[in-house]
Symmetry: D2
Subunit: 345 residues, 4 copies
């Protein structure tokens, strides 16, 4: 039984993580911590879980004293707030899976440029492993610190890795146009995410400046073996869950759609959580699951390929992937606790 | 007083058109026709209009006998169904504004390729005028047949015309990633547009095959003075109204964001229905109005420009623009009947 | 031209009011004040209104110095915050229309019991007029202080007044089960009204304790000529706008549904904003308008009448009714500025 | 392993049922049948289930030949279509659980009056058992034909049974005001349930005439030991799932809220799927689960009790309850296959 602690359990990613862990047959929740709701029962914050997750949330301040009781620490915190806890946990031999963004960029200068805060645990960047199992399963299995990918990067990298790793597209031509549900904006009380403010509307935001851009570039550069710079445009869509990434690239060679399907099928063969689908992905088809659906189209007229991926941002884009990483870290079956069926309604 | 008839009045575009016309101080509705709801009161189909638009819908079959009583005929029909009526109307000297897609493509071969039906009024294509007032106001004013633009083309062309007409971008690099509300799919009873099927989801559709593609290409080619081929990807978003077009192009020259703003401001100066906005467009900011919001961003890292436009698909993308065209045709003030404030809620 | 000032203009009711006033042909906005957004342009708070309502919001503190420049002061404030301003305005001979709840209950003890704050302008309660034009048009016309009705009371009273005023139902049997859209909860940043928290759910709240209860009772008691105590249960529904009130009463006499329709038609004859409809009201049928739809059903099996009314909570339930009252106060045509068509989409 | 067949598997209730059964550790799906999608893969109808439920749907015509291979037949059909199949199945000793409404009313005259069709299997009504486990667990365990309750009746009866069975309220005073999500209207292609037609609106429907009324009355009469006639008003709310029932009754005796809570706690003690909650139920708190939340309030001013219940209409209101009944029929643990956590997002 893997003993786990969750820091930041009452945000949406933390909520989803706690739900999944509470049903994981080989995990045991030692503590849930919360900043805003410390000393409240988790099920008083999320009334749906009355009778299921009645743990009292401990205060973030008190997490330190629980570290010796756990095998793995999950963090779901805003950027720049993880350093002390992670340092302490790693020092005690506790494995760390950070759902936040503090250990995803290998270059701390890059981190500081995009996030605007000083990185205070740069050593950890040397051995942090990017937690995208479909690409880095082996490294994850022996990691001490797993940097769980962002939601947009998960969808984008999974859609594009087969293309860039095979030299199929011109790597200077990549454009990712992504659409996210509102839960991606978190659970803080902001006017901009009120029901009446973001229903019945769609908008782009953070054009050319979104922090997930360097993360996607870093991983795709690794896959390509050359430095990739790309355009990434996130959009906010009036739905709770889901990310759809529509990815464009100019074909470098003549390749048919069928050949592309073969390429994708082969690249992701034996993957439990990837479905290469004939029809175009819809976020509802992966909702509530750890699955990533991918389809690909060739536009013969413009010699472009369009790869479309869909994930549930809170699951494959956050909590589910974190548990997938935990399973790998502890030698468990990778889909343990993650067999939720996608559910359209 | 302009005497008008509306064919296809009970679809969403026809509904919106009928509402606008009913409030237009210089228009008088002679008839509303409907295929599915003939002989029903319009306000029995749209219960909100009880007491306001109680006209009985005439059958499409009976429209012919009303043509001598009107000055202008609006058609909001599926493609391929307008030929007989339009021929008859034009023969009687009645002006025609077609909200459908039968007269938008100048080349009937192109029409037949994309729409899969034979064009039976190819002569009309020679003198039909594309009804985008911001680009073709003068031609519209003396037209007999106005091809009202599609919703996606309206948003896309308005966003890109300033760029292609000035040689600012590489015309082979254009990608349009557009997002539409569900009313764009029409009012027919399909499982795919049921509340439970398209809420809480986003999807791409008709990748590389959508019929609005050649329409956008034709108009942008005109603006550019060279043939443009581009990628267009439409998406369905769980909201009633609105289109957001996110348009990408590679910059051919060094140009700052400020200079781009100057270019757009100048291109659309004196336009009543275009707002060049500093902040990024949101479809809710144009909802219920005939306005198109446009913002532009330079991505210095990739040397791309991203132009984003937002319209209400049923108004500037259909019925509102049709009335704008009618106003031009009849020498009325262009915004007559179109002064609805955008309303976020 | 009526010169108006609006206090609390950036909440949802204030927003709606400012929009309506900006289009009113006989009103001129002298100032818009805001607590949270003072010194910002109104159109920077509500980006849809760029170019239409670019007034800079003044601070609530500065309203006093503007009072001599206006004919009527609208207030859209939380309860208990209007006293000083109202006193000052009335002292200067400025008419006041309070969209808040400080002058609706005639008995200040009742106010203090339900609202939990001390009433500091009890004198005003003696001459404040309840601003429901369909019932109190004459008194409103000569009022100095109009207490604009709450949203739930507007829908409930209009549905039940014909019944209680004619002794048709047992007044001890009245139950009002009402459903409201989320804009009724206001524009403050609360977790409970985030998109992800109130979408895809319905709940009852404030059962037996909602502050609109005594307001409804007071007005229906007046209409009945006897003291009425009733049950009122509000519900929150995942939509932006709209209130539906389903009202139950036990019939005291044998009366057919047709006779009831006659009763309602006659009670509301000549009313511009009331539609007695055969089919059951839907909130979308009144959305965006100042209309109240009412239908009535007899349940022969239980000898009950069920009256259902629908309004747009921000218009007939707040801002629209306030303008209707202004029109009456200043001898204008009652529907001036209020001719917006209801719009389902 | 219980061998099951599902008729009507591609409607929403059938979909939910098939999903639950596919994960049930003691059930094995022998066939899924569909009228509209026969010979299609289930996962081509519900794309989310690709890889999980790829069974080919058999035609309803062919079900007969499969009956000897199953232990239990589930039917999710419109009323009046089950008679032949049920007769055949029962004749072969196959247990039947009917999610439809053909065997819920004991009196076939009552059925014919409310449903407007002739009952062609009246004998079965004599031994059909109403499948509400919390009230009839013992009878269900030995039944051959289980009439699975309607969604509204499930919520209503569970909320009111503790009151009527203890003589706490005046049984002539019962009013049930219920609110349902759109999936309750089924998956047929109707204009009235299009996204654009039922979003952003709430309405009452079938006032005093809804077919679930006699079903609620029959069961509550049983619980009360006297004939109950009541008012039931359903409403349509813009959400996918969920029913909230707000139930009113006049108190016959002085009873405090605390005493009422004791009554409910005791009535439902040991029930796995009932939660008596202090705070008021919200449908999101039971979404995706087989749980029914119930809270109760005393309105001291009017001497009424208001009991509010929330269920997921497709689970506790249909498919989940059907599986609960199957578990009871076959001596399995009652919550087998039904341990889904409610999930707000």
């Amino acid at each position: 039984m893997v003993k786990v602690g969750v820091v930041g359990s009452t945000g949406y990613a933390g909520y989803q993580l706690s739900m999944i862990l509470s049903r994981h047959e080989n995990a045991s929740i030692v503590f849930l911590s919360s900043h805003n709701y410390s000393n409240m029962k988790f099920s008083d914050v999320y009334g749906n879980l009355r009778g299921f997750l009645d743990n009292s949330c401990i205060d973030m301040q008190d997490v330190g004293s629980y570290l010796t009781k756990i095998d793995v620490l999950f963090l779901a915190l805003p950027h720049g707030q993880s350093f002390d806890l992670v340092e302490k946990a790693l020092g005690l031999g506790v494995k760390v899976i950070d759902i936040g963004s503090d250990y995803r960029l290998r270059d701390h200068m890059n981190y500081e440029k995009w996030y605007g805060v000083t990185h205070r645990l740069t050593d950890a960047l040397k051995y942090a492993v990017y937690g995208l199992p479909e690409l880095y399963r082996d490294s994850i299995s022996s990691a001490n610190l797993v940097a769980n990918p962002g939601c947009y990067p998960t969808a984008s990298i999974l859609a594009l890795a087969p293309l860039v790793s095979t030299g199929t597209i011109d790597n200077t031509s990549i454009i990712i146009d992504a659409k996210s549900g509102v839960s991606g904006a978190g659970r803080s009380a902001n006017v901009s995410t009120l029901f009446c403010e973001c229903g019945e509307s769609v908008k782009a935001y953070s054009i050319a400046t979104h922090r997930h851009t360097p993360e996607i570039e870093q991983q795709l550069s690794d896959a390509a073996g050359e430095k990739i710079t790309l355009s990434f445009t996130p959009h906010l869509v009036p739905m709770n869950r889901g990310i759809l990434a529509t990815c464009y690239g100019n074909l470098k060679k003549d390749i048919s759609q069928n050949e592309l399907y073969d390429l994708y099928q082969s690249y992701y063969k034996n993957e439990n959580f990837i479905r290469i689908t004939d029809s175009l992905p819809e976020t509802r088809y992966v909702k509530g699951s750890n699955i990533c659906d991918i389809a690909v189209r060739v536009d013969e007229r413009t010699k472009r390929v369009i790869a479309v991926s869909a994930i549930d941002n809170l699951i494959k884009g956050a909590a589910g992937q974190a548990v997938q990483n935990m399973n790998i870290l502890f030698g468990l079956s990778e889909h343990m606790g993650l067999d939720m069926l996608p559910n359209i309604l």
